[in-house]
Amino acid sequence: MSAAANVLVNASAPSNETGYRTFTLGSFKISRDEYFVHVTWPAKGQQMKHIMSADAFLRAMMRDVAWGFFYGWVNFDGMVGTRNKYGQVEFYAGRYAPAYHDRGLDLVETFDTPLIMATFKAILEDFTNKGFDPFAAPDETGSSWVGKKNGSNTEAIDRQRQACKRMPGLPGDAELRTDSNGYPVNRAFADVVQDAPEVHAEAGFENDVHAMNLFAYLSRSDVTWNPSVTSVCGRSLCCPTTEEYILPIKHGNDRVEWFVQLSDEIEWEVEDKLTGLPRAKAIMKAGDVAAMPANIRHQGFSKKRSMLLVWENATPELPEMYESGKLQPYPVNF
């Protein structure tokens, strides 16, 4: 066992064969080999088993950790994932795969957030090899995730999500991204204009008259599918992000979420939140706006790195309002 922030993470000694540890979280065991991550759990007197490609697993777990388990469900795939209960987190296998759930072959266990967070961080650290960045697009990070245990990439997995209090660049708020603070323009946004707005502040108003180049800021994002916060209006958060390849998780909403496509194109597959049955496809191009209802899960596909503004309402009562039926899962009737 290892202690992280006064939380005990249950991990085996490194395997003699692969060098990776096996982690125990409640009744679940999580292990990896050269190519795959294996999740096992007991059900109806037998040991159930799920397998995922290790790169897909690490990309999904990386988002779950970076987002603090996010709003609602983070499905690593159609079988395993987490549900944020805000203070506690459910980890499940098969719960939202009807063939398993209907036969009692699924398992859901609830953990205090610090325990599951510490366990996930320990798994990420152990399962991520040197040179592999779970936040990067495949074209940027290659195949160093393959094989036996080979070093680690702590710098990549310890990145902090950039969230402003009001707007980046204001005194005391999040920094703007520049070459000098480690944010060069991403290769896929080399053509994005880097000019700055003209800001003419009268004396005494230098801290109140403020603007930034949001597109330039996004062009310098060093991560994919990891929203930052760039403006705060009460509990309304604009959370733009840059997207390339596949959203590594299927996000199940516990509230209505909105997307504004700022550049390029993303194709979204929308499924029923509980069953995974297909409901719609949304192909969003620059300027498109669409709601993701509170009763769906969705996954995006972006063939070229694109800019997406995710718009969230952080009102804490929202999940209960949708769960209880006080709010319909759709934002408007017309």
Binding site: R166, M167, R187, A188, F189, V193, D195, E198, V199, H200, E202, G204, F205, D208, V209, H210, A211, M212, N213, L214, F215, T230, S231, V232, C233, R235, S236, W258, V260, Q261, L262, S263, D264, E265, V270, R279, A280, K281, A282, I283, K285, A286, G287, D288, V289, A290, A291, M292, P293, R305, W311, E312, N313, T315, L318, P329, Y330, P331, V332, F334
Partner: protein, 166 residues
């Protein structure tokens, strides 16, 4: 020259995406396009394109000179196309114009009374803070489109059936 070409939209060059329904109602996705909305809007009409309880995102056609507006809370404007100058005035008596509990923007009657704070000129992709307690006015030096992050107010226009896939 980059091997990648980033595609932004504009009033004169946009393509609205597609919604393919398998087993749902297209209205549930409230799918619109900011440039499409602005192409049919009056200058500075605040058309709601996204709503989450009291919070909204509005698409605004920036054309010519706007009225003066004031807000009791922060707003943010992102210029999606064109070039917009924003003049800011710190109101001497903001409560008389937009009381602290007033949500969304209100029009200022006549000229705002207060100190000039300065001005900002934004082009495509630039985001400006419209601070609480200030009055602001837009001047589009080139007709364009803005996206506003704000709260639903008296000036917000909801016309979902006209702008969304059905």
């Amino acid at each position: 020259m980059s091997e990648f070409q980033t595609v932004f939209g504009s009033l004169n060059d946009y393509t609205k995406g597609e919604l393919k329904i398998i087993n749902d109602d297209p209205k549930h996705y409230v799918f619109s396009n900011i440039f499409d909305v602005a192409s049919k809007s009056k200058p500075y009409e605040k058309v709601v394109v996204a709503i989450n309880l009291e919070y909204v995102i509005e698409a605004v056609r920036a054309e010519g000179v706007s009225d003066w507006y004031a807000v009791a809370h922060d707003e943010f404007a992102i210029v999606m196309d064109g070039e917009v100058r924003i003049d800011l005035v710190k109101l001497d008596n903001p409560n008389a114009v937009a009381p602290a509990d007033k949500q969304g923007a209100v029009k200022v009657k006549g000229e705002p009374v207060g100190k000039k704070m300065g001005h900002i000129v934004c082009k495509r992709g630039h985001q400006a803070l419209l601070p609480a307690g200030a009055a602001y006015r837009f001047t589009a030096t080139k007709t364009g489109v803005m996206m506003m992050q704000t709260v639903l107010g008296d000036l917000s226009v909801q016309k979902w059936a006209e702008i969304c896939y059905k």
